[in-house]
């Protein structure tokens, strides 16, 4: 009898310990929200929201300080668009190849091969963009600066490609065989079947994969910090140095900005914008994928 009571007490302690492990993830989320919110609120006691949203210059480190977020947003939008423009066509075509054409044995080699692309550390991609891709682009494109949005954008596109291809492949594989058979029975060619039947049927899953890849591109840090430059500039020219939101956070962190100063708080304000953007996209992508699984 005694043993049972002791054992239930012990069992309850184990349960409590495991529960607290699981709660660490909740605490992490609360921690991120708390840190971002508290420093961002402190930031906005010194800088007005209208300056943040309406000014088109970002110069917190200059004597003449401006706190307009748009140059950083433009830099982020530019590198991310290049990345998406690289990753989506390649990723989609490779998803089609994997699900429709690839012989099983070749697929068994190609698929893990592509997954490796997502596992290479971003610092390595940054080096590759700066040292290899940029000089190649400079040879082709006139007025291409040593730091630019195009080169890191392309390399980032290669990095996020496996995300587009593997999620799109799942979506394509989920298209019922009866739809394809119906198309063939009506005399449709292979290409017509893929483009008019299979891809439209898989579209919500494909869009979900693209949004998720976009979210990853927006949050990617080291590639752009190394190869895109660190000059906040309100431009959509992919040939000149720019600065993304993430690269700005790295730039300030590399320097010795004292705690509690306005400059220090800017990285949390920028971080908040980054968090809201990526969270919204992850949420949207999740909703789309849910719709897909429910439709099955």
């Amino acid at each position: 009898m005694n043993r049972t009571t002791a054992s239930t007490g012990f069992e309850r302690a184990v349960y409590a310990a495991l529960l607290s492990c699981a709660l660490v993830s909740i605490v992490t989320t609360v921690g991120i929200l708390y840190v971002l919110a508290s420093e961002t609120v402190a930031f906005f006691t010194e800088v007005s929201l209208s300056e943040f949203l309406l000014d088109t210059q970002w110069t917190p480190l200059f004597a003449d300080k401006h706190f307009g977020i748009w140059p950083l947003v433009a830099g982020t939008a530019l590198t991310s668009s290049v990345a998406i423009a690289t990753a989506v066509p390649l990723g989609l075509l490779s998803a089609i190849y994997m699900s429709e054409f690839a012989p099983r044995r070749l697929r068994a080699v190609l698929k893990p091969g592509l997954e490796i692309l997502a596992g290479v550390p971003t610092i390595v991609y940054g080096y590759f963009a700066l040292v290899v891709v940029t000089p190649v682009l400079q040879a082709w494109i006139p007025d291409m600066a040593g730091f630019n949005a195009l080169s890191p954008g392309i390399v980032m596109g290669i990095m996020i490609l496996p995300m587009v291809s593997s999620l799109s492949e799942d979506a394509i594989a989920a298209v019922p065989a009866t739809l394809r058979e119906g198309a063939y029975a009506l005399g449709a060619t292979e290409l017509a079947t893929i483009f008019r039947v299979v891809l439209p049927a898989a579209s919500s899953g494909i869009v979900a994969s693209v949004i998720l890849a976009l979210s990853r591109a927006i949050g990617e840090t080291m590639i752009v910090a190394i190869a895109a430059g660190q000059q906040a500039r309100f431009t959509l020219d992919p040939r000149v140095p720019i600065e993304t939101m993430t690269a700005y956070i790295v730039q300030i962190s590399m320097g010795d900005t004292p705690t509690g100063t306005l400059e220090y708080r800017t990285i949390f304000a920028v971080g908040s914008v980054l968090f809201v953007l990526t969270f919204a996209m992850n949420y949207l992508s999740h909703k789309l994928r849910r719709r897909l699984t429910l439709a099955e």
Binding site: E11, V14, Y15, A17, L18, C21, A22, L23, V24, S25, I26, T28, G31, Y34, V35, L90, L93, S94, Y97, E100, A102, G113, L114, I116, L117, G119, V120, P121, T122, I123, V124, Y125, G126, Y127, F128, V131, V132, I158, L161, S165, T189, L191, L212, G219, T221, M222, A225, I226, T246, I249, V250, S253, M254, T259, I267, G271, F275, T278, F279, N282
Partner: protein, 282 residues
């Protein structure tokens, strides 16, 4: 059938194959170019020297030591918490509302950019808890970053343990803890270890969160305690990449070779473990 395929279809197949093989070619280009750039700098003295203003004398000893400290500490924090959370969700949580909330939350955390984990670490570990720009602050940040990976892999491993074994254990009068300790965990261990290795491999390459937490980029000592300042291999590489001189870029390439080789070994180990796990399945 294949003889009757139209030219346009054959062309399209070729384009699709090129789109798949092309990025792999880029990967080969990346690895090949880095090898060519950095292989000359790889030597025992490169591994065993401190950084220097003279590129030819500079080495990665403090960076490698810092990375080792970070990785071991990260694993010691992330593994028990991650496996504990997975056990809770798989073995206790069931369909409860709390388990659902935690699950959604973990999925969300996996999508948070790593640089934001750096801001979390800076705000909570470095400032609020007063740990300073130390090994423990960096490791705690990395641990939270890789926690979703550990949890997901551990849950998958726990799911491969047949329910019949659990029921048999209960039927013999074992308590839940005894069942977990003697039946479920030993069977799930290879899968959990695979996840752990993948998480560590991810943590080794992380750069941005460590920069934000305050890893130093020029360190001439090896960390000797959890509260010591530190650098890490990716940070050292970033430092060298940021310099205009060609000679430092070669150092960066050599550092990248060391980093990629380490990750290759870790991933190979994970693949081997997974194979052993698969071989055991009925």
């Amino acid at each position: 059938m294949s003889a009757r395929r139209r030219p346009s279809e054959r062309l399209f197949r070729l384009v699709c194959l090129a789109a798949t093989a092309g990025p792999l070619g880029v990967l080969a280009w990346l690895v090949g170019d880095t090898l060519v750039d950095g292989i000359d700098r790889l030597s025992w003295s490169f591994l065993a020297s401190y950084p220097s203003r003279h590129a030819e004398q500079a080495g990665i000893l403090p960076a490698v030591a810092g990375s080792l400290w970070l990785i071991v500490t990260t694993a010691l924090i992330a593994l028990p918490i991650g496996v504990g959370a997975a056990l809770f969700l798989e073995e206790y949580g069931g369909r409860s509302r709390l388990a659902r909330i935690i699950e959604i939350n973990i999925a969300n955390l996996a999508g948070v950019p790593s640089v934001l984990y750096g801001l979390l670490g800076l705000g909570i570990f470095v400032r609020t808890l007063g740990l300073g720009r130390s090994v423990i602050a960096g490791a705690a940040t990395l641990a939270l970053l890789v926690l979703p990976i550990v949890i997901l892999a551990s849950r998958e491993a726990l799911r491969t343990v047949p329910d019949g074994l659990r029921e048999a254990s209960y039927a013999l009068g074992a308590t839940t803890f005894q069942t977990l300790r003697h039946v479920v965990l030993p069977m799930a261990l290879p899968g959990i270890l695979t996840g752990a290795i993948l998480a560590i491999s991810r943590a080794i390459g992380e750069t941005a969160p460590l920069i934000v937490v305050g890893a130093l980029s020029y360190v001439t000592f090896v960390p000797d305690a959890l509260d010591a300042p530190f650098t890490a291999l990716p940070i050292q590489i970033y430092n060298w990449v940021s310099r205009p001189q060609e000679a430092f870029l070669k150092n960066a390439a050599a550092g990248i070779i060391v980093l990629l080789a380490t990750m290759l070994v870790l991933n190979a180990a994970a693949v081997l473990l997974r194979h052993r796990l698969d071989a055991r399945k009925p």
